[in-house]
């Protein structure tokens, strides 16, 4: 896929205008993202023209001095003051002494849309800042969803009225105001409406990345994603959104990879897209590949800290401690007080089993940015290591509150309840995790184990079988052992053993036997398979299965088979004494016959 010169010029112009538009409105992240993408186009001629004048340009010209003041104040993080430049003051309380009347502010509708956006956005940020200040310490008593942004309702109402009047006049919010309204609605947990407004905004201003990010956050599953995409125009941004949302929802099928490859052909230099690729690999547990891609990104953008924390996660899983320490050093040299840096250092200390220090750094990351998801999850993990289940639970809960699709947090909460022996509760969380990661056998195994402990044996068997299927990447739902055998591929012997034991508990000794035999079968490799998988060899579980089978045959009177299995057991070296005793019994029975 390549661009014609006109398309390229269009793309460049749109991106450049998005950068200017975002910077004028204090949307730094969107500006950064668009500029990065603009610079990752292949080499070529640039033909960037000035943006067309806004419909209300005469208003903008008139209020330019005030706008400049507001922007300067906004940039110096004096949000309240910046908002006060344009926003009308609240009516003064009835004063005992007559005060000189203040000059009346013009109503919001008399302002240009740019000014309105900046003012409302500044007010919103001021509220967020106050909220953060009132939340005090991370995980402290005031920290949590109970501390709201107090300005939100007022802002939302104001903006609603304004947008209604615009639309009634046949105009619109220029894309930016729609976005802001969407954000307000999303903050107020008014998700469906928020999505509508965001889609409106995406149609008007497709190159504003913030819109897509908010949309992704609001899209819970594949169906919703499909719905959203259907409502969106077909352009490159929708395409990027498609890839990004799939990645965020941890879908890593070939379709997404292809889409990403096509995008990378358009923007070969884009570190953002490359990091999407790495994250896809990471979700599919392909850590080496992910590490290679991250490495590549680092080489070309040594000062880019975004998504570097994911790299540290990859290195954590791979156990590359030295490299992790280097990344941490590198990040700390660039900026000590970025949540990403703190996360990386926390990961390093976590891998060195210094959990207190790790928690300290995760807390620091959260103090810097309370919506930094991975820090919450990782901190929960550290608290579990430190046996502080309450803190861990709270951290995971906060992670889930920030992003409901974080399966690690759900899974972690399940683990905690399992530690606390509250299995019914644990089951719920495992099920949430399994719903988010239907192809991760670990989730299903956890679900199965919870069911088994709760005494719901048939459910447990189903869950374990799901795990087996997920483990062998099989779409087909297996029912019996024979079906599973027929499906081929390597199966996890531990899961099989669990299933067999469950069948025994149910009393279905025939199925149990079949699964025990399957366990033993996993010891050897399957040369018939296309992808030559190797057997697991003799493990404690396969030996246990063998012992079970030997006893089974013994009880059934099939002494030869039992004897053979017992002899194998003596050779394998597990439970030798018991096997020998069994052998003696068998010989005695044979002789007695």
């Amino acid at each position: 896929m390549s661009l014609t010169p006109t398309q390229r010029a269009d793309l460049e112009r749109n991106l450049a205008h998005a950068v200017t538009g975002c910077s004028e409105r204090g949307l730094y992240h969107g500006a950064k993202w668009a500029a990065e993408l603009l610079n990752s186009l292949p080499e070529g001629e640039h033909s960037i023209t000035d943006p067309p004048p806004a419909p209300d340009a005469h208003l903008e010209r008139r209020e330019l001095p005030r706008f400049l003041l507001a922007k300067a104040l906004f940039d110096s993080r004096e949000y309240d003051r910046a908002a006060a430049v344009f926003l009308p003051r609240p009516p003064p309380p009835p004063a005992p002494h007559p005060v000189p009347p203040t000059p009346p502010q013009p109503p919001l509708s008399a302002l240009s849309k740019k000014a309105v956006f900046l003012a409302l956005y500044a007010k919103y940020l001021a509220g967020e800042k106050r909220k953060d200040e009132e939340s005090e310490m991370v995980l402290g008593p005031a920290d949590g969803p109970l501390t709201p942004n107090k300005d939100l309702v007022m802002l939302s109402n104001t903006l609603e009225g304004l947008l209604t009047s615009y639309y009634a006049a046949g105009s619109n919010g220029d894309g930016w105001l729609e976005y802001l309204y969407g954000v307000f609605l999303a903050k107020g947990k008014n998700e469906t409406q928020a999505k509508e407004w965001l889609i409106k905004s995406a149609r008007l201003r497709p190159f504003h990345w913030g819109v897509w990010q908010e949309l992704t956050a609001l899209t819970a599953n594949a169906e919703e994603l499909q719905q959203s995409i259907a409502a969106l125009p077909e352009n490159v941004m929708t395409f990027i959104f498609h890839v990004f949302a799939n990645q965020e929802q941890m879908r890593f099928n070939a379709h997404v990879h292809t889409a990403l490859t096509q995008l990378l052909a358009l923007f070969p230099q884009s570190p953002f897209l490359k990091s999407q690729r790495a994250l896809l690999y990471y979700h599919s547990n392909d850590y080496e590949e992910a590490a290679a891609v991250f490495n590549d990104i680092l080489r070309s953008n040594p000062f880019r800290l975004d998504s570097l924390d994911c790299y540290s996660n990859v290195l954590y899983v791979l156990g590359h401690r030295a490299k992790l320490s280097n990344i941490a050093q590198c990040a700390a040299l660039i900026d000590k007080f970025r949540p990403e840096t703190c996360c990386i250092i926390g990961n390093y200390y976590s891998i060195m089993s210094e959990h207190e220090k790790a928690v300290m750094y995760f807390r620091r990351a959260l103090t810097l940015d309370r919506t930094f998801l991975s820090a919450w999850t990782l901190m929960g993990l550290e608290y579990i290591e430190m046996k502080n289940t309450h803190a861990a639970l709270e951290a995971y809960r906060r992670a889930v509150d920030v992003n409901r699709r974080d399966y690690r947090a759900w899974y972690g909460m399940g683990q905690i309840y399992e530690i606390l022996e509250m299995h019914a509760y644990g089951l719920y969380y495992y099920q949430r995790a399994a719903a988010l990661r239907p192809f991760d056998p670990k989730m299903w195994m956890a679900v199965g184990a919870s069911f088994a402990r709760g005494g719901k044996l048939s459910n447990a068997i189903r869950a374990y079988k799901r795990a087996l299927v997920a483990g062998s990447y099989q779409k087909k739902m297996g029912g019996s052992a024979a079906e599973l055998r027929a499906s081929g591929g390597a199966l996890d012997p531990d899961t099989l053993y669990e299933v067999a034991k469950l069948y025994e508990r149910v009393g279905d000794r025939r199925e149990a036997r079949a699964f025990m035999e399957l366990v033993i079968a996993q010891e050897e490799s399957h040369p018939t398979d296309n992808d030559a998988t190797f057997g697991v060899g003799v493990t404690p579980n396969t030996s246990k299965a063998r012992m079970w089978l030997a006893k089974f045959h013994y009880a059934a009177g099939d002494y030869n088979a039992a004897n053979e299995l017992a002899t194998q057991l003596c050779q394998d070296g597990f439970d030798v004494e018991e096997a020998k005793a069994l052998q003696r019994d068998i010989r005695a029975r044979i002789e007695a016959m």
Binding site: A328, A332, L333
Partner: protein, 756 residues
């Protein structure tokens, strides 16, 4: 700046781990351990006062490590130990391996319950394990703890500093190992790590190699020096310290060192400011116990800058605070300081303290010190008691017995700080007993032997006293040399510098007065009279010389006034007995000079009486000499002769050339008078005795350069020759007189020109 760990400490830990792993051959072990322990041992264990060797520099360079290791063979054949050191140093390839290195140190510590059941040849048994409480064990534990509590940013700093530390050996290691210095997963696969490795790293620009602990140690050492010797650090040291402490995390002790420095440099404002700053910063860490010490220092500072009333207020508060907080040590220190003040500045202090409180407080101090076994305070209070006894004219034997007690205490408890003042007090006693050579040797002992353990101002006083003794003997060259030798010691120390220069002027003035160079003496006198003095000794000396000068310039009314003034002042301040006797003697001289011998005789008799009671032998001799002279002038020659012949032999050992010359001259006069009453052989014998006495007197005055006495002697001898009828000799002596006179006036002229 890190708190404790530095690259040097990592280097030392590498050595320790080599020792622990059994990599060292037997004869290398001793050297290695010495090298390590010198730098690691806790400084608080070395409290000896004679720390002649400075504490080893805590920083080591990688070259030092290699130099230490290179002479020895390693367990690997064909390789010397420095290869091992390099290998260890370069095996730390990243922050992570640094972390692992610290973790691995745990294995060197002996855990109780360890059972060594490995076979005797295994590497584990070759290992040396350190007990937790052994010096190296402590070092390892401290290092591990410090590493554990380091934040990641500090680890990065340590790592970069460590790389700078070992950077000089990169080439050597590459040659030895045949591999690139940085290898392993870190260096090979990453182009971008080059950025972390090189982009941000230049060996010369790496962080400082000192930890807070190192800086603190050097500041403590510095402070110890400053407090003990009362000096300022040399310029280079000051500059180095400034560089060390120019970091945000510098310890607060810096301000205390600055306070001392400013104090000694005479910068009252900065000293005051820095003292306050130090205690402001230590308030957060230290308990309130620091407060009384702060007050004590403040009072010392204010006394030094002449703000007595404030100093006394502060001191009283110090004592109250120390009593309240039951801080016996501080209380004793402040009481002994109060005592010192009472003696040193009686005029300013008298109004503030109740009369008699001096002895009481001294008694209290002694009891407290004995109770609390604070030997150094006991020793200094005994010394003070002896000094008070001497100044009030009390028993010399008691003083000497007190001093023996002090000496015993000093030796028994190794109180080096008081050795010097002990020697100086003894020298004072010897001076009063007229044993000049002993006085001189005690002074020499003080500044040759004890200068290493005494404050600089004490040493300076000893030198000045010694110089003044040499001056008295007429050995001007020695005196000048002694004083010029100490010039360098007092550079930058305002008070001592002033003291030294004043003393130099005093000695010069004395010499000029002996030489009868009135004009030059006038100039110096004028200069000395306008300077303010805090030191009572100096004040007294200046006053006495002023009187002598006035007498020499025949300005008797003014001289009389000056004597009366001084006498009153001494009476008010309850001054030293020696000073009072000296004033009496001056008065007697004056009366004799203005022709009122009878009055002079009474005064001289009083002086002799006092001097005899207080065992002030030199003063006694002078008084007796004066009485003899008055006898002669009243034509009681026999009495004069008998008096003089009684004291002269002792005077000769007293080391005062001027007094000797005078007494001989008086003796000559007495014999001349006697000769007048005699006939025949007895007369001739007397006349020859006259000649003999005058010869001796001339010899002494020649030593002093006192040409007036010399000329007087020649004239007298001329008279003797004429009485004997030896006209040739008369002629000869007349010529000699003229020659000497001419020479003398020429000398006077050049000297005056020089002074001008």
């Amino acid at each position: 700046m890190t708190r404790y760990l530095t690259p040097s400490k990592v280097g030392l830990l590498v050595l320790v781990s080599m020792y622990g792993d059994g990599d060292l051959c037997n004869h290398a072990i001793r050297k290695f351990l010495k090298f390590i322990t010198l730098r690691v041992a806790n400084s608080s264990t070395r409290t000896s006062a004679f720390k002649s060797t400075d504490p080893a520099d805590p920083t080591v360079t990688v070259e030092e490590l290699l130099q230490l290791a290179s002479p020895y063979a390693s367990p690997l054949p064909g390789r010397s130990l420095d290869y091992f050191v390099l290998k260890k140093l370069w095996s730390i390839t990243s922050i992570h391996s640094l972390h692992e290195f610290f973790d691995s140190l745990q294995g060197l510590l002996f855990k109780s319950g360890d059972r060594r059941n490995e076979s005797p040849n295994s590497k584990a048994t070759r290992r040396i394990l350190f007990l937790d409480v052994s010096p190296l064990g402590l070092f390892i534990r401290r290092a591990r703890v410090e590493h554990d509590r380091m934040q990641f940013e500090d680890v990065i700093k340590l790592w970069n500093a460590f790389r700078a530390f070992r950077a000089p050996t990169e080439k050597a290691w590459m040659e030895l190992s045949g591999k690139p210095a940085l290898q392993g997963e870190v260096a090979v696969d990453e182009a971008w790590t080059q950025y972390t490795y090189l982009g941000n790293f230049e060996p010369n620009k790496a962080e400082t190699t000192n930890s807070v602990e190192d800086v603190e140690k050097s500041l403590e050492f510095q402070l110890d020096r400053l407090q003990r010797y009362g000096i300022r650090a040399p310029y280079e040291v000051r500059e180095r310290l400034k560089r060390l402490t120019l970091v945000p995390s510098a310890p607060t002790l810096t301000f205390f060192v600055k306070f001392y420095d400013a104090w000694k440099a005479g910068d009252f404002t900065s000293a005051h400011e820095n003292l306050h700053r130090y205690f402001d910063y230590t308030m957060q860490t230290g308990a309130k116990s620091n407060y009384q010490y702060a007050l004590l220092h403040k009072s010392m500072l204010q006394v030094d800058f002449g703000r007595f009333s404030e100093a006394i207020k502060v001191l009283n508060e110090t004592i109250a605070m120390a009593r309240e907080n039951q801080d016996a040590e501080c209380l004793n220190l402040s009481l002994s300081w109060q005592n010192h003040l009472l003696r040193a500045y009686p005029k300013h202090m008298a109004a503030m303290f109740m009369a008699g409180s001096e002895k009481e407080s001294l008694y209290f101090l002694k009891m407290k010190a004995k109770e609390g076994k604070l030997w150094s305070i006991l020793s200094s209070s005994l010394l003070n008691e002896a000094k008070i006894l001497l100044s009030s004219g009390g028993g010399v034997p008691t003083a000497i017995s007190l001093l023996s007690e002090v000496s015993k205490l000093n030796t028994q408890h190794h109180i080096v700080g008081n050795w010097n003042s002990h020697a100086m007090t003894l020298s004072t006693i010897m001076g009063r007993l007229g044993l000049a050579s002993l006085t001189q040797s005690y002074c020499e002992l003080s500044f040759h032997g004890y200068s290493a353990c005494a404050a600089t101002d004490e040493t300076l006083r000893a030198v000045c006293l010694s110089a003044s003794l040499a001056n008295c003997e007429g050995d001007y060259e020695k005196s000048e040399q002694l004083l010029s030798n100490v010039d360098g010691n007092v550079t930058g120390l305002m008070k001592l510098n002033q003291f030294l220069h004043t003393y130099k002027d005093l000695l010069k003035l004395k010499r000029l007065l002996h030489n009868n160079d009135i004009q030059a003496a006038y100039r110096i006198m004028a200069e000395l009279n306008v300077r303010p003095y805090q030191d009572t000794d100096i004040q007294f000396h200046v006053a006495i010389l002023n009187i002598e000068y006035l007498c020499k310039s025949s300005n008797f009314p003014q001289a009389y006034e000056a004597i009366e003034d001084l006498g009153h002042k001494l009476q008010e301040e309850d001054g030293d007995v020696f000073q009072r006797v000296t004033v009496l003697l001056q008065k007697a001289h004056l009366f004799e000079a203005v022709g009122r011998p009878a009055q002079g005789f009474t005064v001289a008799l009083r002086a002799a009486n006092s001097a005899y009671r207080a065992r002030l032998l030199p003063s006694l001799w002078e008084a007796v000499g004066l009485m003899a002279k008055i006898h002669s002038s009243l034509e009681q020659f026999e009495a004069a002769r008998r008096l003089l012949e009684a004291v002269l032999p002792q005077t000769l050992t007293g080391g005062d050339a001027h007094l000797c010359a005078q007494l001989y001259m008086y003796l000559g006069d007495a014999f001349m008078g006697l000769a007048g009453t005699q006939q025949g052989d007895a007369r001739i014998a007397s006349l020859s005795k006259v000649e003999h006495s005058i010869d001796r007197a001339q010899a002494y005055s020649a030593k002093l350069g006192d040409s007036k006495t010399e000329l007087e002697g020649i004239a007298k001898k001329m008279l003797v020759a004429e009485v004997l009828g030896q006209h040739g000799q008369t002629e000869e002596r007349a010529n000699e007189y003229i020659r000497l006179h001419v020479k003398h006036s020429r000398l006077l002229k050049t000297a005056s020109a020089q002074v001008a």
